[in-house]
Symmetry: C2
Subunit: 215 residues, 2 copies
């Protein structure tokens, strides 16, 4: 059935990989099916055959990586929450933010493919195209709710709406960072090393957003 055939069974996979790469580089609207199938070296009609439509392909591209990543982030947040509950005190805000951000950056540097996908995340959260934004936000919404609640627990003296805004500021910083690091040409940004590893990036962003949260 869906087992990998030896000769040509990887058509579906190759489409997924090419689409992921091109979506990250040129955006959803800026990537044509012909560009995808050309890069994947498969027939044009294969996309509609295997995924129904370009939108269907987009959804699969996102699902493949975002679901596992979100599972990891969810577990990390739950762990922080659980540990705090056991100890009878509130979660540490720095730990909460780490639980969300570190898996993202680690995932980014896990493989080159994952890296291009994370770039795609950064760009898509603010994509003018509803198609892209909706798919992403649909997948990230439950996770964001948990993150929000946990952050409120960590900062019980802050009004919830302020926590929410600061969380958005944090996401803005993170996504913009993912964006910068996804640039292939660095001619537009001077003096900045956009090829930092996850640990270095984490060491830069965590103090910033933690301080902002506690302000």
């Amino acid at each position: 059935m869906n087992s990998i055939s030896p000769t040509q069974g990887d058509t579906k996979q190759r489409i997924l990989d090419s689409a992921e790469y091109l979506f990250a580089q040129n955006g959803y609207r800026g990537t044509s099916l012909r560009a995808i199938t050309g890069k994947a070296d498969v027939n044009l009609a294969a996309v509609n055959y295997h995924y129904g439509s370009k939108d269907g392909l987009l959804e699969e591209v996102i699902k493949r990586r975002l679901l596992p990543l979100n599972r990891t982030r969810m577990q990390r947040i739950d762990a922080v929450r659980q540990k705090a509950r056991e100890r009878g005190n509130k979660p540490d805000i720095r730990a909460v933010l780490m639980a969300f951000i570190e898996p993202t950056l680690l995932f980014k540097e896990s493989t080159p493919e994952a890296g291009t996908f994370v770039t795609f995340i950064g760009r898509s959260m603010t994509d003018p195209d509803d198609t892209v934004r909706r798919v992403f936000q649909r997948f990230i919404m439950p996770l964001f709710q948990i993150l929000f609640e946990t952050t409120c627990e960590a900062l019980p003296r802050l009004p919830r709406d302020i926590v929410l805004w600061r969380l958005h500021f944090t996401l803005g910083s993170l996504f913009h960072t993912l964006n910068i690091c996804g640039k292939f040409s660095t001619d537009d940004i001077e003096y900045i090393n956009t090829r930092l590893d996850a640990d270095s990036l984490l060491a830069l962003i965590i103090p910033f957003v933690t301080a902002g949260m506690k302000a």
Copy 2:
């Protein structure tokens, strides 16, 4: 003359206004010349006649509002720098950030048209489309350099590359905020008032980024 006549006169202007609105709502790639001319109620060929091409129109849309806005921001930053120099001490980081962010938010609420344009800014800094990003970054680069230098003066104990990163985090927060506030449908973000005025937004974002900068 300048009387409102459907046949003559302000064609060029009406194209500019319609393009600004539609670019902000659907992005550059997602907006067709036919949509623009249809909304402006002018002939399709008018865009190429008055602006040469769609790219030419984009540049004029950006220039019209971004040049004055950047002039204001530049003056504010210069003023902070000047005052500090007169007093013989370093600029206050909060004042520096205010000098950049406040004019942006004030401009945003000055008129509905300016508001939609600022939305366009927020989206375009990370637009996958090179065409859009390049135009914006070309216009904002000199300003960003001054902002960077002034921020370094305000935080002389921080290494320059860390200042630069934190400045990017700040821009990320700001742009993401502009984005959220530009949403026409709020169904994807819960519990957040995306229609705050400039002062309220400023009161939210300034403490966050100031604390992050000083972390």
